[in-house]
């Protein structure tokens, strides 16, 4: 298994500002992912965080809006840039431990006013 922590756990931000969310894993993992969960909705994959190279973004998500860093095998950050109220969501980090074991962090609850 993997123990995943995220910082901050929640935040309330003003529109137009940016927030960087950190994800720390207690072991080295190859695959790390960032998901968004809008209020009352399911999870949507934002991107795969690649160590040593640019993240791979899913359709509808772009690097300028959601820049991602992955400096090593245990850490990643997701920035939500130039925020608007529509960005209010839970942002979740997840890691793939083996082919079929994907673990999720506790999430960061973002509210944009």
């Amino acid at each position: 298994s993997a123990v995943i922590s995220q910082k901050p756990s929640r935040d309330i931000c003003q529109r137009g500002t940016s927030l960087t969310i950190q994800c720390q894993v207690d072991s080295q993992v190859t695959m790390m992912f960032w998901y968004r969960q809008q209020p009352g909705q399911s999870l949507t994959l934002i991107a795969t965080a690649n160590q040593g190279s640019e993240a791979t973004y899913e359709s509808g998500f772009v690097i300028d809006k959601f820049p991602i860093s992955r400096p090593n095998l245990t850490f990643s950050t997701l920035t939500v840039s130039n925020m608007s109220p529509e960005d209010s969501s839970i942002y979740l980090c997840s890691v793939l431990v083996s082919y079929n074991e994907q673990f999720f962090g506790p999430g960061t609850r973002l509210t944009v006013l």
Binding site: G40, Q41, S42, L43, T44, N100, F104, P106, R109
Partner: protein, 112 residues
Amino acid sequence: GESVGLHLPTLSVQEGDNSIINCAYSNSASDYFIWYKQESGKGPQFIIDIRSNMDKRQGQRVTVLLNKTVKHLSLQIAATQPGDSAVYFCAELQNAGNMLTFGGGTRLMVKP
């Protein structure tokens, strides 16, 4: 806590009864399916999985059924307990990549 499942379909059951949560998946090429449980204020937690070459798998108090003909997945929880109250998501994985695609989710409410 956070109302993750505020707008999701809700299944309400009496404590001790069996629960059945259904999910329709989208991709016939998916070869692996997982059920996750998400409690309020937490990230999704793995419950049980099943490969596409199986039609049934049992765990402790939970059973997953897979019907590939109609692309349908179900989670059965026996003797449902108040601690089972959560939002349940199915997810599918294709062997072409490591990315999960999540279904819409169902909120399970257990009445004592």
